[in-house]
């Protein structure tokens, strides 16, 4: 639904990087690896939080 606020494993706040990551790596053409490195999301536990996330708010909102 919405991006998790923190990494499940280590507790780092990852939510704040979602919009930039989405814009550059998912919508844009940039390499996710490089975007994550630039955002300072270093560990793989935090990286998977962003890489594997899908926003579902737009999908569920018509059924409210």
């Amino acid at each position: 639904m919405m991006v998790p606020v923190r990494c499940f494993t280590c507790g780092t706040v990852v939510g704040e990087h979602w919009e930039e990551f989405d814009e550059r790596a998912n919508e844009g053409e940039e390499d996710p690896k490089e975007v994550l490195d630039e955002l300072g999301v270093e560990r793989y536990c935090c990286r998977r939080m962003l890489v594997s996330h899908t926003d579902l708010v737009d999908v569920v909102s018509p059924y409210q």
Partner: protein, 249 residues
Amino acid sequence: MTEEYDVEFVEREDREARFLVRGVTPAFANGIRRAMIADVPTMAIDTVRFVENSSVMFDEQLALRLGLVPLTTPPVGEFVEDDTVTLSIDVEGPATAYSGNLVSSDSLVQPADENVPIIDLKDGQRLEAEAEVVLDRGKNHAKHQGGVAVGYRHLQRVEVVGDVPEFEEPDERIVRGVIEDDGELVPTSEFDHDLTNRYPDQEVAIEDVPNAFVFHVETDGSFTVEELVTRAAETIEARATELEEAVQL
């Protein structure tokens, strides 16, 4: 018995640091590490009163998201465990409610990050809520955990013991952490964690330096690394004093 500790910073930023401590026992190093994770109190939202929530997520889900937002924690002594601060949020769609939209009743307690999306609001949806912030420890809930990814490794001493025989294929030698080379501290990231990059064609011996630990500490933004470490030491000190008094009785 007085201990001789020696602390030296290797890398240092506001929220992330690496420092070397010499003369510390493994038991004490672990005590400090555990205290940083679970025993240093931080502020976090604990109770939320929803005035209006017509978003696509349930009240409980939003309350959890709000709870996980890191808040700046005031200096020691400003708050005790039962004091509360109220934060309020009021956002109307179409818009996204961010952690930065939280308005605090106390300037000492503010969202540490402003850009955490709380909920996406569509046309006509609205989120209005009041939240109570409490001071608590990481032991009770992960949202109160001020230190993230706190750990330590032995400092490793690297010594050149000879040359690699001329026709031998050198194997990579992966080391992580910080090495000590002739008294100089070098983070392994400087040579891509591979000793053959730093000592090409040389045979090296690695050993752990006894009682020297390199801590890696990150905070969630509640306070600086310095504050986290000092407060962790203080919690241990406080418990030692408490035990001393309890034994005397």
